[in-house]
Amino acid sequence: MNIIVAMKQVPDLQQVRIRNREPVIEGVPYTLGIIDKNALEAGIQLKEATGSNLIVVSAGNEEVEETIKEALAAGADEAYLVLDDKLDGMESSLTASLLAATIKKIEEVGLVIFGEGSGDNYSGQVGSRVAEILDLPQVGYVSKIELDGTTAKITRSLEDCEELLEVQLPMVVTVLGDINEPRIPSVSQILKAGRKPKEILELDDLDIEIPKDKKISTLSNLAPETDRKRVAVKSVSDLITALQAEGFVGR
């Protein structure tokens, strides 16, 4: 059985500077999304438990080929990558189409794992869209996965309860960030990562065209204002009144 983990390349948020409330993203090195790393770790643990083959899939600009080494070093066996510089900043519907078309090229797919949301815009849509395109059952907010032959036992963590489901394979899951703690690869795994097989796909291979016009446009992307309110008070009772007005005390 093949376990698939879908991962997105995102700008390394720790390197992003904010200038005039706008993030400076140009030139920032790429990394893989934080929750995507949890999805990968979940895949690695299942691979180790079942002896499955673990494949990462990703779509993005040419840099993805380098960025994906991180996943191969952590424990993925191979990678399927859709590379084209035109894919920078693509919207979720296109990402889902590309990933679904890529997954269709892989045989014996048992489980497809996504992070609950990407590390940059966190639309949280791609996993569900891929499940729809592939006509597979999908479960979200997943905090535990156990594979048992042709079925999976899935725990969903909801706001005030946990739900336990049994689902027929193949299926799609989107996992939460606290499902596990991603491992740190050893240096020998990093060396081996460069030698693991990578299937590089072009848009023509998938028979998908990039729409000329985007359906969703980002108008602004501002950091929240954090200026202090600079409320001056003359007495303790004024302070208490001000705090009550803000809802900090006496609620």
Binding site: Q15, V16, R17, R19, V24, I25, E26, G27, V28, P29, E66, K69, E70, A73, I184, P185, S186, V187, S188, I190, L191, K192, G194
Partner: protein
Amino acid sequence: MKKTMASNFMNTTRDHKFILKEWLDMNKVFETERFKGGYSVDDLDFILDNALKGAKEMVAPGCADSDQIGLKFENGQVITPQSTKDGYFFIMNNGFGATNADPQDESAMPQTLVWAIYEYLIGANPSIGTLWLAGSGAAGLVEDFGSEELKKTYLAKMYSGQWAATMDLTEPSAGSDVGDLTSKAIPTDKPGVYKIKGTKCFISGGEQDITENIIHLALARIEGAAPGTKGVSLFVVPKYLPDANGEVGEFNDVNCAGIEHKMGLKGSPTCVINFGEENNCLGFLLGEAPGEDGAGRGLMQMFKMMNEERLMSGISGMALAAVAYHNSAQYASERIQGRAAANPKVRAQIIKHEDVKRMLMFQKAHIEAYRAMALATFYQIDIEKWSSDAELVKKSKKYLEINTPIVKAYCSDGALNCISEALQIYGGYGFSEEYPVAELYRDARIYPIWEGTNFIQSMDLVGRKMTMKKGEVFAEWLNEIQNFIEANKAAAGFEKEFEILQKGMNNYREMQKNLGAIMAQPGMVQQYATRVLHATGKLYGAFLLIDQALIAQKKIAELGKEHFDYSFYAGKVASASFFIKNILPEIGAFAEVLKNTDTTILEVPEEVFFV
């Protein structure tokens, strides 16, 4: 006393990436036969980021345990906290340990990269550094000088860290004067096997409960060998003798008599080790036994390991200074106190106070100078060991000799000054153990002392290295700096810096001349040697920083001020400018001091110290 926080590990990978990707030509190393087809420059970012993450998440959490729980010594056994064991095996199992010294290991990294990573791992928990850092040097000695049987028995487990290693030189009555050691090696019927008897002290990791065996590399004198350092030999002395299958066998009469109670590195067992209390301790000779002249090879062999340990000491000091710097910078950006001279109307973060900024700049510039000289030296090791360019190898070998005492002493002495400035930024909180810098200051205090005191390093530089081949080697080393000045003095934007650098060089040569004039007088060199080494470090640091700044300036021109990485490159330029304008001119003052031919130290009666 309950402490809430002893260490707060902070570092970044940015300067290391700059050094390895933009400054040193790592392709020259990666393209050697040893590393060809393995790692490439493209792997460096990931390796460094990954190592820093490991240091932060897997090693640093044990630092508070090392400092606050420390060690227990019960019935001859040292008991370490569980987090020490976790940290040790994380480092070993993730390929950061002695496997990098294994010439057969295809995943081994070049030493330049290894030691860039060690800055993180040592900074994350300096106490456990002593437990794993000796492994590669010790295994290297077995690799280079051991018999085939010794290699077969010990090397795989030493490289993997399954068996830890120590170096055993010091004895209660023989420290810096190691030739006075009294440990004996008595021949047995079996060639190369001796009975060892003696006591060693200050043995880092001499006893611990982490690994199943401990391999001591111990100096002892074979009966009948020459006195002094000449007659010393080196032995592999395991705590447990390997059995026929190479696994842990019989106890080898290696006993720990006690551990030191220290001001820092409290999680590092510093042991008194008794070999052969029951006359039943076997040691295995490395290399040849002394011939008719009674000369052993021990000290020469041990110095191969010792040189690496000396560089380790310099990097360790810098590693802790870097942690203190990053913590103090963050604290200065958050702590609001007083009003800045530039805007006296509002209370300000203390980073806006000029003197706090000065202290941050002092740390930043020095740490970058230390890092540059340390990693440039490990780069020479990689070139010397693996390059096929004979000329380059020859040059690297010579520079390595000169750089080693400078890196050890200049970096470890200066690191304390940097940590002291970090502590000062915290004000009263810096003196409190609840904040991270106090522990760093305590931990870093050992580095100027061990692996040959910094005075020994200074005498090594002045007495041996500066006079190698009648001074030709050192003259060549200095000329490289002079040639660099000549080639770059017109660099736009750095005219002033190069003018001062040239003046610093002139002052250095003046210092050499003044030193030469008084060298014949007994005791004069000794009283000035430490200051000569510091002057050399300042000149070398200034040279390396401005070399880096030239690259940074080009990058700024290429990327512009709006680029996300502008602050890093602007910082590199600032470090060079600050160091050259504020630190380098101190050489001139020392050159003046030498002119005074002061003999106070030589003449003052010892009694004045007891009044």
